[in-house]
Symmetry: C2
Subunit: 127 residues, 2 copies
């Protein structure tokens, strides 16, 4: 039935990295991990479901923040071991720090400079 | 000296995942890995240098194909464990299959469909 899932080369932990890109802006919002079950749920529900390595559990993005990711496409790379999701980001906030996206530090003169503003206080997101 | 390198949370293999995005098109070209030395070389040379997990060695992207990646920015995410590079792709080909980018399979009706043409025969790239 799910032979498309069998094409994927899961790593020794049963995971693959996932690059998450916003439709429209084409901004790379975040990087996460999926196991087989989370990818299957994502494909079925069209909401992004990841595997939380820190909590060792499935994690529906937005379940506590309301910032769900509506999946528009799921793409696989040439090595069959990395996924690219394009998503519509609910609330316009993908990062747990309250920023639009997670890659908000830029290397300038051998220093990491913060280049993105906080749009919403995390304490008001995760109540 | 290199305290910006110490901010990064390398995994148990001393690596971090790297998302590679093309400037201009904003297309996600590929996903790779870096260790400390490869990132240091990348920052110095402004050419992307990765860590090849299959060969267990440093890998200057383009060294055999000529398809170097000229690095425009290096960004770090909120967890300090993933990098985003923006690059100019020499030759317009990032993928070893001869395609523009590596994410050329798209999930449609529970099948992976190839959505990108081969621009150059790999046998003519890697001579």
């Amino acid at each position: 039935m799910s032979s498309w899932l069998d094409k994927i080369k899961w790593n020794s932990d049963g995971l693959v990295p996932v690059v998450v890109q916003e439709t429209g802006s084409l901004q790379v919002l975040m990087h996460a991990w999926m196991n087989r079950e989370s990818l299957e749920k994502t494909a079925e529900s069209r909401k992004a479901v990841y595997w939380s390595r820190s909590r060792q559990s499935l994690w529906t993005k937005g379940e506590s923040s309301g910032h769900y990711q509506n999946v528009e496409s799921i793409q696989l790379d040439c090595d069959f071991d990395t996924l690219l999701l394009t998503v519509k980001q609910e609330g316009g906030i993908a990062c747990h720090t309250g920023r639009h996206h997670c890659f908000f530090m830029s290397l300038v003169d051998e220093q990491w400079q913060t280049t993105e503003d906080i749009l919403k206080n995390p304490q008001d997101i995760y109540k």
